[in-house]
């Protein structure tokens, strides 16, 4: 079991909230503006009174001036569901043959998910957490209120990283099983052929607001020469024998850069938030700095 978020950092996170770019509907009242008109203090517009309307909302001042019945409409504030999906495939434990030391990607991803969940709970959002493997393998249904943070943290603490994953299939599975739109934050290394774009597309089709958080190990970003090695894929078990010369490493770095660029470009095009993080970054720096800049948090 790991300590997901330090108590000091939790206190600082309470001042943040997850930003949504769009209004929500069909949800319970909350602190998010929705397209629905309802009860709140913020006036929206007038409309003609029709039979059955709540006469308590009739604008009597307008009636006095115009002698017509108008109904006063207010912006109804509704809560948002923030779902944090964490990649639990075996690749989240591996890094690169030789390179800088750093925390495992999965630990970092769990801590990040915990921090984002806590921010959302503090903003009176409904928060759900899911674990992605070959499909959506484990899911903590949405909860509300800060007092539910502990349950979410325990869920994340218990999570284990194992087995082969299929990011596209898992995201598609989520989109199919939980069609209600919301904000979906996907925390993964996205180191799969196609960078998980197909799965992200399915989330977008389901009208979710999506944010892709790519977590990479420093040794993956800048591996060093390690001699003659047999590289084994931790998920599928395939292997390739390589002599890690400087030219081979250069080619690898180029491939990785191309792969990440492909993901980032698609995210920009599809209106999906994207941020790449290294596991050597501190959680505070990432959350308070990079994620605020990227517009996910405010």
């Amino acid at each position: 079991m790991i300590e997901l978020v330090e108590p000091d950092l939790l206190r600082r996170l309470e001042r943040l909230q997850v930003l949504s770019r769009r209004t929500r509907s069909r949800q319970a009242p909350g602190e998010r503006k929705s397209s629905h008109r309802g009860r709140s203090v913020e006036f929206a517009e007038h409309r003609d009174y029709t039979f059955g309307d709540d006469f308590r909302h009739i604008d009597w001042n307008a009636y006095g001036r115009l002698e017509r019945l108008f109904l006063k409409l207010f912006v109804e504030e509704r809560e948002q569901t923030v779902t944090v999906l964490v990649d639990r495939s075996a690749s989240m434990t591996a890094s690169s043959p030789v390179g800088r030391e750093g925390p495992p990607k999965f630990d970092f991803a769990r801590r990040l998910a915990a921090a984002l969940s806590y921010i959302a709970l503090c903003s009176y959002d409904r928060v759900a957490v899911g674990l992605l493997g070959a499909r959506l393998e484990d899911f903590q249904p949405p909860v509300r209120g800060r007092n539910q943070a502990l349950a979410l943290f325990r869920f994340l603490e218990r999570a284990e990283c194992r087995g082969a994953g299929d990011l596209d299939a898992a995201l598609t599975d989520y989109a199919r099983r939980y069609p209600r739109p919301g904000m979906v934050i996907v925390v993964s290394d996205f180191l799969v052929p196609g960078a998980g774009v197909t799965g992200l597309k399915h989330l977008r089709y389901a009208k979710n607001e999506v944010f892709a958080l790519q977590v990479l190990h420093p040794a993956e970003l800048a591996p060093e020469a390690g001699g003659d090695l047999k590289l084994v894929d931790v998920e599928v078990g395939g292997f390739r024998e390589l002599t890690l010369t400087s030219s081979v490493l250069k080619a690898y770095r180029s491939e990785l850069r191309k792969h990440n660029q492909q993901l980032e470009d698609w995210c920009k095009k599809a209106g999906v938030g994207y941020l790449q993080a290294s596991t050597v970054e501190t959680l505070e720096t990432l959350v308070v700095g990079a994620l605020r800049k990227s517009g996910l948090l405010a």
């Binding site: 180191l191 390690g226 590289l231 931790v234 292997f239 024998e241 491939e255």
Partner: protein, 581 residues
């Protein structure tokens, strides 16, 4: 360029094996990665499931091929024939006899010249070093390790021995016969007495010097004992020196001697053993060779010889025995005796010396004229006028010494310390001749006293000290070093007696002194021989300067190839680790 051992090129058959290693895949360390597909583009290796891979140009492979080639060719010992001043096989024979210790530094000069020859020899030259003392001893067998020869040369020192030239000759002849390209250098101050073989260069050392020497020193038995000394001048001019006789380290006699050039002076000094049995005679004189200015002697270890006479011996036999100094005579008494004379009968014991006067019954009728053989017991005895009526023809075997013959028949023989007469003394002229008492005297001196004296009083330096014993003996040399000797066959032998001085032998709790003194006219004579100019290090065999003679030398290249292989392997190691880092 040719190869001394072409079969070693078989090692080059490892080249395909080396290349095969590069064709085979490496056993690599496993490393888990999260995204193998990213490495695909970077992959340059061949298919993972094949045992072999495509051979690519690899700097390490080239280095290893180069190292293997160098080692393989080096093992084949490539060589080329080059002209040189030193033969490919060189024998250095350095004279270490006493005269090389002369004050003019001839030994150092000879050693320096030998080192020069060593330095001139190209790498790969086989060199042997021998020291010519009383025996010629191979110090270093043929080797290409010049440093070993250099160390051995530096360790050699002149010894107090007379040089034995025949040994050097035999060694040189043997070397030159077995090695057709070998060349030998004899570095000495004395021209060899034999003709030098064709490939032997004699390099002479030393300057002519004036010298006085103690040429004889002995303590003769008698009452009182007498110190007999002789001093010889090996000088061309009149020399004066003090002669000092010491006993037990204390001076007991001193005399000034003046000797004309080439003269010999003897003197006899009565001494006793009150001050000990060890005597030293020193000639106080600054001359060319200090080693022969001192001599040591030990008083004879003599005691009364117990002789038993068995049977009715004629009177002349009794008188002859009583005339031998130090003899105590017993007649027909049982017990242990040093010698028994059998007038009748045969020896009853193997102990001691026996003289059997009664001849066996079967005889050959004569008369015969008696003739002495060349044996130390009878040498120069006046036997030519002795006739015998009849003689028993002894049949001598390999262990029998024939002392005299009557006609063709052995008449007096010695076997196993038994002297047997083959004729009746009374039927001969023997009783009338002085030969009989002299013979008995020599039997007592040489056989009986030789048995009693287990430890000799004197030894010739370099000849080995033999002690008759069945027990362990400890010998302390003049320089203080000790050695314990284990006897074999009733004798204990100390082989290394090259030091002059007094050797102390401890046997059965008793200590005996043995004197070793250099007495050699050859070593003491330093004035040079006719036609022998004694210049330092010049060849004296009439040939051209040995250093100027050009030989066809074998120049081997294996050393350079081995060094090259080592350097290539070091570079390969460096390159490998640099690439892996």
């Amino acid at each position: 360029m040719k190869l001394l051992d072409p079969s070693a090129l078989a090692w080059l058959s490892l080249l395909p094996l080396l290349i095969a290693f590069y064709l085979m895949k490496l056993r690599r360390k496993q490393a888990p990665v999260s995204a193998l597909f990213l490495w695909q583009a970077a992959a340059r290796e061949a298919r993972v499931d094949s045992f072999f891979q495509k051979l690519r140009s690899n700097f390490l492979l080239w280095l290893q091929i180069l190292a293997l080639l160098a080692l393989g060719v080096g093992l084949a010992r490539p060589y080329q024939v080059v002209p040189g001043k030193v033969s490919p096989q060189v024998a250095l024979v350095l004279d270490v006899s006493a005269s090389m210790g002369a004050v003019d530094g001839r030994f150092e000069a000879a050693r320096k010249r030998a080192l020069q020859l060593l330095d001139q020899a190209p790498r790969g030259t086989e060199i042997t070093l021998a020291a010519m003392g009383r025996e010629t001893r191979v110090v270093v067998p043929f080797t290409t390790d010049k440093e070993q020869v250099r160390r051995a040369l530096r360790a050699l020192q002149p010894q107090a021995v007379e040089e034995g030239r025949e040994g050097a000759r035999s060694l040189l002849v043997s070397i030159l016969a077995n090695r057709t390209q070998a060349e030998a250098f004899l570095l000495s101050d004395h021209k060899p007495g034999w003709e030098l073989p064709p490939r032997v260069s004699y390099l002479a050392f030393g300057e002519p010097g004036q010298n006085l020497a103690v040429s004889a020193f002995q303590i003769a038995p008698g009452d009182p004992l007498q110190a007999f000394a002789a001093v010889t001048s090996y000088s061309d001019s009149v020399e004066t020196a003090d002669l000092v006789l010491s006993q037990g380290g204390k001076e007991i006699y001193r005399r000034e001697l003046t000797l004309p050039g080439g003269a010999r002076r003897t003197l006899v000094v009565p001494v006793n053993t009150d001050g000990g049995a060890e005597f030293e005679l020193r000639l106080v004189h600054a001359d060319a060779l200090p080693a022969d200015n001192v001599a040591w002697a030990v008083a004879p270890r003599q005691r009364t010889v117990k002789v038993r006479l068995m049977g009715e011996a004629p009177l002349f036999v009794v008188k002859a025995l009583l005339a031998v100094p130090g003899v105590e005579l017993f007649r027909n008494v049982a017990g242990e005796y040093d010698m028994t004379v059998w007038a009748d009968g045969k020896p009853d014991s193997a102990k001691g010396v026996h003289v059997v006067l009664e001849p066996p019954s079967d005889v050959v009728k004569g008369p015969f004229n008696l003739a002495a053989e060349d044996d130390p017991l009878v040498r120069d005895l006046p036997m030519d006028r002795i006739f015998v009526q009849s003689v028993h023809p002894f049949k001598p075997d390999a262990h029998t010494r024939v002392l005299a013959r009557a006609g063709p028949h052995p008449a007096i023989v010695l076997k196993d310390n038994v002297v047997s007469f083959g004729f009746d003394l009374l039927d001969s002229d023997m009783p009338l001749s002085p030969a009989f008492p002299i013979l008995l005297n020599r039997v007592v001196d040489q056989l009986v006293r030789g048995l009693i004296a287990a430890v000799p009083v004197e030894v010739v330096p370099g000849s080995g000290l033999t002690i008759a014993t069945d027990e362990k003996v400890t010998v302390r040399r003049p320089d203080g070093s000790s050695e314990e000797l284990t006897p074999s066959g009733g004798q204990a032998v100390l082989a290394e007696t090259e030091q002059a001085g007094l050797y102390r032998v401890t046997l059965k709790g008793q200590q005996y002194s043995v004197a070793a003194t250099l007495r050699s006219p050859t070593e003491s004579e330093l004035r040079g021989e006719a036609g022998h100019d004694m210049l330092s290090g010049l060849p004296q065999n009439g040939a051209a300067d040995a250093a100027a003679v050009t030989h066809s030398l074998v120049r081997e290249w294996w050393w350079e190839l081995a060094l090259g292989a080592l350097l290539v392997l070091m570079l390969e190691w460096f390159w490998y680790h640099r690439r892996a880092a």
